[in-house]
Symmetry: C2
Subunit: 264 residues, 2 copies
């Protein structure tokens, strides 16, 4: 089975992609809804939470794990890979590779949580691919809360204004490509695009899902399940069930169980 | 000493009041910055977190504890009072009493986090004081994040628009008094007032502080310290030190220590 986790519901945008490109796999999704958000917290706390999340998923004997959280992918991959012996795929590497391929003028913007941008993970990864790329990074700490508070309607004035404010440096830098470095952000892509007309958006959840498929194929680990998906959260399962469709584009079609993540 | 805690930095607005009205007391502030926010989480999770917070503060032998968190005051006071034998003061009771005194037309608005409004705690308390009061409650889930993301300048357009949207039902109901049922909200009182001209704002942190003083005086527990304040957080102390002045109106003037709150 494939394990996938995020601080909350945002990772469901990556799960949506996984369901489409790997319909036959069993998957376990864990959303750390009791401790969301991660992106405003310190690296030490993020590492501690991420290790607990993967320890929990390890109990299902995963073939591989997708870290569907830009914050964890930016700040805790080293610790995760040192602690576990199955493949763990973060979204940063996959997304950087795709953005470097897509850009025509070599100017790439990166938006993410405070922790993701503070880490400089995307710039490091992009410069490894091509040191001549010009990168403009911008933390957008309010975006996760806007999405989780439901300010997601096309044309929402609060979200539009927030996008304009946050994204001005990306526009001024002349970027032709923008990395959505947080799996919550595709939900407000409509407003992000309005603030940055003509800019290609690269979704980290989608790129992470594609890289996970590659890894499974390379290691001949594909096709071992029946397409069953199980959901676990660290807080109220009802709230999760009610809001999941916003991210998944569909109902979850199954049970959500609660896990005491602090025990792991 | 007096113990005081909140999910994050908002409770510092209550500490500011305490410092003014009880300058001679020793105080210990705990901000659960590793798990902030509480207001979007389930009651079960909030109760568990609140019990841990008070267990930590118990180690300092408090004369009394102020729950400077509207969410905990709304949903976990029963459990806290059953578990500890020192006085624990929540902000709901104090704030409701003040609002009921202040209103002239008997129409009171209440704003708070999703968890606070879901609990109906303010309406219950206000109706106990006067069953004829007309109460309009409105959850404002984005406000804590707006404050913690720094959208707090006078005239901030995003905050202004969010206030207009959230506060329309309060205006339409003709309330003359509004309870700020979350200790973060005084920081954006300037925009809240613009959306509700002529409405008297009642700050839960201030009312909680006044009630705490009453309890200390009644129990002859006042004046046992030297005005020393110690700060503890569950995440990065540096981030706390940097942002505390926004809430405290002053630098903290002391060390901030980290505590592993999950051990309590």
């Amino acid at each position: 089975m494939i394990g996938i986790f995020d601080s909350g519901l945002g990772g469901l945008t990556a799960l949506k992609e996984l369901k489409e490109i790997l319909p036959g796999e069993d998957m376990v999704y864990f959303g750390d809804t009791g401790r969301v958000p991660y992106g405003t917290k310190s690296r030490e706390t993020i590492v501690r939470y991420a290790l607990q999340d993967v320890r929990f998923l390890r109990g299902f004997s995963p073939e591989a794990i997708l870290v569907a959280c830009g914050t964890v992918s930016s700040g805790a991959m080293k610790e995760l890979r040192e602690s576990f012996d199955f493949p763990i795929i973060g979204v940063v590497e996959a997304t950087a590779r795709s953005a470097a391929n897509v850009t025509k003028n070599g100017k790439i913007g990166v938006i993410g949580t405070s922790a993701t941008i503070r880490s400089g993970s995307y710039t490091t990864q992009l410069k490894k691919i091509n040191p001549d790329l010009e990168i403009t990074e911008k933390a957008c700490p309010l975006f996760v809360s806007l999405v989780e508070s439901g300010f997601i309607t096309d044309g929402d004035e609060v979200t539009r204004l927030t996008c304009e404010r946050y994204l001005a440096p990306i526009r001024e830098a002349g970027c032709d490509t923008l990395i959505l470095g947080c799996t919550h952000y595709p939900i407000i892509a409509h407003e992000i695009s309005k603030a940055l007309p003509g800019v290609t958006l690269i979704s980290s959840g989608k790129e992470g899902a594609l890289m996970l498929r590659e890894i499974l194929e390379k290691n001949e680990l594909k096709g071992r399940g029946n397409g069953k998906i199980n959901y676990y959260v660290s807080d109220d399962p009802e709230g999760f069930s009610q809001n999941a469709h916003i991210f998944l584009g569909d109902n979850i079609g199954g049970d959500v169980k609660v896990v005491d993540i602090e025990k792991y």
